[in-house]
């Protein structure tokens, strides 16, 4: 047990000797271990979603001054199981005129697109992702989710779903640009695209170096998963339920689970890039402890995401696109250039001076940005509040002529 | 290890199918899709040659990167043209746009 806590790879070795003892060939054993690892990595997060659903419903309920689910099990903890049972027993409605293959593929791709992100995540020292081009892999895996949502909207044979799909493509493509630019900053600071190296480089968390980048990453990530305030893909007041209008039963549940897991994954990724990943007291000696730290940090960011969901109204589609192209992208570009130039100068100064230099540069960039935004906002025409505006009032109904006695 | 010829076969198949698509399809977008298939075949060839004949050098990969850039540029301009043509003619079927036929 102690050996496992110190070095989790003994578990793999024990399994390998077990399989070899059964008389399997070494190649098959390796394949089997890979499959097992993949299963664990896919099943773990999916089971965690059950808790996330309960947590989010409970948290949002508290934000809205409600109690939330509290009937099934202690504190309503078994509510997600009841929901799943209900969804499983629902009739599986397939509308007329759908594109059969793509209609079925979309929910599966939507979950797969999230699970594909996990192999790159370093869970602890020597555990989890160790991909050489890890950050690029993340971006590549993110495209699967875009296609899942687009396919769902297009194959449903429903105009509202198609509108949701078009919004998806516009929104996700727009927000991918600042996301990639911002992800380059931790890569630059760690001098590596390997996420394990990025975590190892954070003797001081990168959020201390580049707080603005962390903030932009969080905002852009929320837009990438299409959550409130960026949930225009499924804005129920405008386009019914957007891309998943025509999905019911378990297929809807897959979109739902995928979205929740994606939100948590965003938390984990923010933790990896900016909050020191699995680092914490004792995480080097006991790598398993690192998983716990990572989970806690990820959960903290996830709570912030839920918080934003509960407290922000949805923004308008043109505001959404303008915000990405006219504000986030230039800002991310400036931050990237500043970080690159500054880091060349201060890289040899030691950890804290380097961090402080980056922090000061971000303060300057923030001040300049605020000045520019303020100057720009003053030049906008002010909305006239005193003039009377046309009001929708009922047309005078023609009075009935007879007195009707 | 898989022989180099197997990769070349796949690449050739993709190239031929892409060429057929680019030559035979009506819609401008479909022609573009055929062109992309041909680009991909070339890309696969470049990488396979790099891996099998000269894995220490950079020529093959740099060539592949340049192909990627050219393909991106080609699609951007191609789709812009497609949208411009669609605005002008109200159709994007390549054989119906016949201004130069006289």
């Amino acid at each position: 047990m102690g050996a496992f806590l110190r070095d989790p790879s003994v578990l793999v070795e024990a399994l390998r000797t077990l399989f070899l003892g059964w008389g399997l060939s070494p190649g098959l054993t390796t394949l089997l271990l890979y499959v097992l690892g993949g299963l664990v990595l896919a099943t773990g997060p999916m089971l965690w979603v059950i808790f996330l659903i309960w947590f989010e419903r409970k948290a949002v309920a508290r934000f809205q001054d409600r109690l939330g689910p509290n009937r099934v099990g202690k504190f309503g903890l078994l509510q997600p199981f009841a929901d799943v049972l209900k969804l499983l027993t629902k009739e599986d409605i397939i509308p007329a005129g759908v594109d059969p293959i793509l209609y079925w593929a979309a929910p599966i791709l939507s979950v797969a697109g999230v699970l594909l992100l996990w192999p790159a995540v370093p869970l602890g020292l020597g555990i989890g992702g160790n991909i050489n081009v890890g950050v690029l892999y993340l971006i590549a895996a993110g495209t699967v989710g875009t296609f899942a949502i687009f396919l769902a909207g297009w194959s449903s044979n429903n105009k509202y779903a198609l509108l949701g799909a078009m919004r998806t493509v516009a929104q996700l493509v727009s927000y991918e640009v600042p996301m990639v630019l911002i992800l380059l900053i931790p890569v630059l600071l760690a001098r590596s695209m390997n996420m394990q190296d990025i975590v190892r480089a954070q003797d001081v968390w990168f959020i201390v170096y580049v707080p603005l980048a962390a903030l932009i990453f969080l905002i852009v990530s929320i837009a990438e998963i299409g959550r409130t305030p960026f949930d225009l893909l499924e804005a129920e007041s405008e386009i019914i339920a957007g891309f998943h209008t025509e999905y019911s039963g378990m297929k809807f549940a897959m979109f739902f689970a995928g979205e929740f897991l994606h939100a948590f994954t965003i938390g984990i990724l923010t933790a990896v890039f900016f909050l020191g990943g699995w680092r914490g007291p004792g995480a080097e000696t006991y790598p398993v402890l690192g998983i716990l730290y990572l989970w806690l940090k990820g959960f903290l960011v996830y709570f912030v995401v839920v918080w934003m969901r509960a407290t922000h109204p949805r923004i308008r589609i043109d505001h959404l696109l303008n915000f990405s192209w006219k504000f986030l992208t230039p800002l991310a570009l400036v931050l990237l250039v500043v970080a690159a130039l500054l880091d060349k100068v201060v890289v040899d100064l030691g950890t804290w001076p380097r961090a402080l230099a980056h922090l000061v540069s971000h303060g300057v960039v923030l001040a300049v940005t605020l000045q520019i935004v303020r100057a720009w906002a003053r030049r906008l025409p002010r909305p006239v509040v005193s003039e009377p505006r046309p009001v929708a009032r009922p047309q005078p109904q023609p009075q009935p002529t007879g007195t009707g006695d | 290890m898989i022989p180099l010829g197997a990769y070349l076969m796949v690449s050739a198949a993709l190239f031929v199918i892409g060429a057929f698509g680019a030559l035979a399809r009506k819609s401008a977008v479909a022609i573009l899709i055929g062109l992309e298939l041909m680009f991909n075949a070339a890309l696969l060839n470049a990488v396979a040659f790099w891996r099998y004949l000269h894995p220490q050098g950079f020529d093959g990969t740099v060539f592949a990167i340049v192909i990627l850039a050219v393909a991106a540029a080609e699609v951007a301009v191609g789709l812009a043209l497609f949208i411009a043509v669609y605005r002008r003619f109200g159709t994007a079927e390549a054989d119906e746009i016949a201004l130069l036929r006289g």
Partner: protein, 182 residues
């Protein structure tokens, strides 16, 4: 052994998807065929140990090019609908050209001595890092790299100019020209 199976499966899938991409009259389905081919290509790159290119392939081709094609289909009404023949009248000539090309390529591959060759040496584990340095080294590939960047910039500006049509479109969304003229 596993690599052989993956290769066989993926290449078969790629060829089938390519056939869907060029024959399906529904443009969105054709694009999905293209996406499968692009994805298969990335898998083949992994088999060839070109990890950076595999990921770049997915990002650029699937994340940008395929999405752009989808976007263009959606921006234009009726283009995505599946009606009318998929091929124009002279498609038989295309078959002739493609068939000739296929025969020539097969002949060449079958008669080329290096085609059944094995890789000469393994790939350096640090290859991606070295590639990055070579791309911007003055005695390396900085000129092709910069020319490619300039090409992309030129294409970007050109695409905006062409698609814009040189006039300001009134209102937030562009309308079809014949509707405005009517």
């Amino acid at each position: 052994m596993v690599a052989y199976w993956i290769f066989a499966l993926v290449s078969l899938l790629m060829v089938l998807a390519a056939l869907v991409a060029v024959t399906n009259r529904n443009l969105v389905r054709a694009t999905m065929g293209l996406v499968l081919v692009l994805f298969g290509n990335a898998v083949l790159f992994v088999l060839l140990e070109a990890y950076f290119l595999a990921v770049a392939q997915v990002i650029i081709y699937i994340g940008a090019i395929a999405i752009l094609i989808v976007f263009a289909i959606m921006l234009t009404r009726h283009v995505g609908d599946a009606w009318g023949p998929a091929f124009h009248r002279a498609w038989a000539w295309a078959v002739v050209v493609a068939g000739g090309l296929a025969v020539g390529l097969l002949f060449w591959i079958a008669h080329w001595p290096a085609a059944d060759g094995k890789a000469k040496s393994p790939v350096d584990p640090q290859y991606t890092k070295l590639l990055g340095k070579a791309l911007v080294a003055p005695d390396g590939y900085v000129i092709p790299f910069e020319v490619a960047s300039a090409l992309l910039l030129a294409a970007l500006i050109g695409a905006i100019y062409v698609a814009w049509g040189g006039r300001r479109v009134k209102g937030p969304y562009p309308q079809r020209s014949e509707e405005k003229e009517a």
